[in-house]
Symmetry: C2
Subunit: 299 residues, 2 copies
């Protein structure tokens, strides 16, 4: 322990955090400790402060992305942030945090639950493709195209040959997006058995959480290891440099929120976008502003 007031330990830069959390075949999904905090040595209060600090950076990076998209000559870019994870792993809280940082115009959020009748009447990527963000925007996917492998496999909704084929279909889809300027950044949250039990128990016992309880969550929990295997398979088969997977420890909500923010920041910074030059004459515009001010006063 060092003495002194504000020190919160070294903060790892976005690229460093992303490198630490990038999926690795050697370690696998199961090899990431859900209660660890890679790249962050502080405690909860420090994490909260770091989150607040990052909110401004993330917002500014999204605005640069947007400002570029407004220009006809600008490199047109967008980003999809995929969030997957077990029930109660904290996807919603992460999205809420990012939305507070960026604002809903910059960060559009789409949840992909059980397909609606209309969605089910189309090929599985149809509902995903229509949510690809416009240039300059970020879309957060609360569950995603990967449910069409994971949920379908786990609940036997289609034969193995169907969902097996989707690994490659999804890779092709994501490669096409990346080639067109839409980055796909994928986050798999990992929560421990103990922490999930605590969160599910809250939903059972607290009147203000009961509406979140779903019997299916308990049924899914019984198949913990099967899910682990299904996650491993998705990660191994669909991780790529073009559309990378990250495994984010989520037992500490503050850490998961900070870490996903840093990963997002890393990808936005990697686009290397500057503020575009003004497409107007600032001196003339200021003169016009002053003229308007003088005019109002005379009315």
């Amino acid at each position: 322990m060092t003495g002194g007031g504000d020190s919160r330990g070294p903060i790892t830069d976005p690229a460093g955090v992303a490198a630490l959390l990038r999926f690795s075949r050697q370690r696998g999904f199961a090899g990431v400790a859900a209660d660890s905090t890679p790249g962050f040595s502080g405690k909860k209060a420090d994490g909260r402060r770091a989150q607040d600090d990052d909110a401004g950076l993330i917002r500014s990076a999204q605005e640069r992305l947007h400002a570029h998209a407004l220009r006809p000559e600008g490199g047109r870019r967008a980003l999809i942030l995929v969030l997957q994870g077990r029930d109660a792993s904290g996807k919603g809280g992460i999205i809420r945090h990012l939305s507070g940082a960026v604002g809903p115009h910059g960060l559009q959020t789409w949840a992909f639950g059980v397909p609606t009748e209309e969605e089910a009447a189309h090929h599985f990527l149809w509902r995903i493709q229509r949510r690809v963000p416009a240039w300059g925007r970020i879309a957060a996917f609360d569950r995603s195209q990967y449910e069409d492998i994971l949920a379908v496999r786990m609940h036997g909704l289609a034969p193995r040959s169907v969902w097996e084929g989707r690994y490659d279909t999804i890779i092709d889809f994501e490669n096409g997006l990346a080639a067109s300027g839409v980055d796909v950044v994928k986050v798999m949250l990992t929560v421990s058995q103990e922490e999930q039990a605590e969160r599910l128990r809250e939903r059972i016992t607290r009147p203000d959480k009961a509406w979140k309880h779903a019997a299916s969550d308990l049924a899914d929990r019984r198949r913990w290891h099967e899910y682990t295997q299904a996650f491993e398979d998705v990660l191994v088969r669909t991780d790529s440099d073009a559309s990378p997977w990250y495994v984010v420890p989520s037992d500490r909500k503050w850490y998961a929120r900070w870490a996903v923010g840093r990963i997002l920041l890393h990808h936005l910074e990697s686009m290397d976008l500057d503020w575009p030059a003004a497409d107007f004459d600032p001196m003339a515009a200021e003169a016009e502003l002053d003229a308007a001010t003088a005019l109002i006063a005379c009315d």
Copy 2:
């Protein structure tokens, strides 16, 4: 000045803040001082803290709304928050703040700018009607149906007889929503000439804000008093107890964010929704959770 650490002065309850800010014909729009802070006696840092405190309350109130909507027997309610105001009055910041509190699932945001080709090919309420939120949700409208009076009037996009007729059309529309369970809460922000000048100047002179600059903002600023009159007319002709207007002073961004949060809180609390009783047996569910836990350990 009182001494002592944490005191932030008396905080007015949501109903009290709403009452203070409710549009009044006597005072009018122009009679509300843009740099005032009705109902709040603290300073900026206090305002920020109060905002953070309210975030949890707003979120909880929205979750109660949502929990009710999930029940077939539940009273089905939803809410539209309309935000109007001059350029740079801070609509975006307020929405970002609320979105961080509630999350994007609970608060859907729609911006109504210049109508798209598809929108313009329909009657003026078409684009509004399709954004009416689902039961249990809140929709924030960044500009709204009122642009079809304000922008049309100010820019001469249609004859007076057209936009004059829309006051009543909008009142009928809003009455229909209120009668069906969708509250429409309307906020008109007011910013002073001086503060608007400062914010527009930033957009002109700062490289990271230049993308927000629009020459039309300066042209609109020249017509400050005409806009004031147009706002007065909208407020007088479309304020009602069913769909009330509030005039929120917005020179201090922290105040406007806090005040709009309190108004929203007031309307959510007025719905008087409790947490619905669990539709499952908590003891049986807990036993099932424990059984799942035991099962995982054996695998």
